[in-house]
Amino acid sequence: MDGSLVIVVVVVVTALAFDFTNGFHDTANAMATSIATGAFRPRTAVAIAACLNVTGAFLSVQVAKTISGGLVDETLINPIVIFAGLVGAILWNLVTWFLGLPSSSSHALFGGLIGATWVAGGGGAIYFDTVLNKIVAPAVLSPVVAALIAVGATYLAFRITARADPVRVDRGFKVSQRVSASMVALAHGTNDAQKTMGIITLTLITAGMLAPGSPPPFWVVLAAGLAIGLGTYMGGWRIIRTLGRRVSDIHLIQGFTAETTSTAVILASTHLGLPLSTTQVCTGSIFGAGAGRRLASVHWGVAGRIALAWTFTLPAAAVVGAAASWLAETGTWGVIVVGVTGIALAAGIYVASRSNAVTAANVNDLPGTVDELPRSPAVDLAA
């Protein structure tokens, strides 16, 4: 095998690894509240989310035309840059997963690509205006908008059903939450699996293995769908616990309003031409749904930690991407060093996570029983 074929294979494998981390990082978006409220049992929830993600991957017909979505000078993007960007994104996804913090996989990917492109072409190759408009402003606004909508919807739902038969109300909202959570999972599959397909397809085109403008070959669709589905099925239990149990005490009504808000915001943003981060929208909705019942029932300290993680997502992935790009560009040995270091760091994070493992069995534990995140005294008063 010659050098260019090796790097293409490396990029494809790394892209699928990223897709896998994307899957388990984002299971929480659709399923955290469903698991917390008991609408789905934990294993059932991740199995359904996984199936819908795979289905979504096959349904999506739009293929990304650019790898970075116009954030950087695309002519400077080569397989080495993509590889380095993916390594930065994967490592940041693993760090935030270890800390149990939801963070946008797309932002991690864009951060990694920005860092790697910066090394390849200097600061001029980064379109900061686009970064501000497509990443920074939506990142600040989308969780706030989602939270405000969820506050209103939750307040209305509690108000209207307050005097109705509680058993029927719970049963009704349980079914409704199953539907709304499934919509989020399906929308996620159509959006996120497609990103990896785009990366692999564009890499193959750059390497001259596919004609320009080709749709993704079937094996790419299949591999990307299975990678994200398998990742989803692994369940990012640490993040699910944070969103389901550490944000607020979520009831069935709130689970339903949170997921309905998420679905509406995601679909509206996708179809109005400014796609927002699923993770940030869903996190905002969950906080809003918590606040809609009782403002004091929300652990704002957790919100602070999540906001801090979001602030660092793009820069941190960019720094790793830049370092990886700088090393990988030195030649084959550089690529090997980056790959081996990446695998070693990923393995280290996994081993460290075992000492405080979160699984389907203990995902619904309440704060304080095992935990590391701060608990608010307000909830104890409410309980």
């Binding site: 979504g56 349904l59 205006d129 501000l132 408009n133 402003a137 939506p138 606004l141 908008v145 989602a146 405000l148 909508i149 969820a150 209103g152 919807a153 209305l156 739902a157 209207i160 059903t161 005097r163 109705a164 038969d165 029927r168 109300v169 009704g172 909202f173 409704s176 539907v179 919509m183 399906l186 929308a187 159509t190 339903f256 309003t257 309905t260 808000t261 679905t263 509406a264 915001v265 679909l267 509206a268 943003s269 996708t270 179809h271 109005l272 031409g273 400014l274 927002l276």
Partner: protein, 75 residues
């Protein structure tokens, strides 16, 4: 520095309208079903039959919105 405020505002308005509509429809359907089961006797005019009829209408409307959402995801 350019931020696409109009698109962001449009997203907020459309999403808020859709969410509130679905949540209202489901909530009213559940109230209607409760009345249908004869639970809300304190409400004047909440006859079981009309409760079920309201619930059915609300659920059909909510179902149509969900179907449109599915169409948006798939198409």
């Amino acid at each position: 520095m350019h931020i696409d405020w109009s698109t962001l505002a449009a997203i907020a308005v459309v999403a808020a309208a859709a969410t509130v509509t679905v949540v209202l429809l489901v909530s009213f359907a559940l109230v209607g079903l409760s009345a249908g089961a004869g639970r809300r006797v304190d409400e004047p005019g909440a006859r079981p039959a009309s409760g079920v009829a309201v619930a059915t209408l609300c659920l059909v409307a909510a179902g149509l919105i969900v179907a449109y959402g599915l169409y948006l995801i798939i198409a």
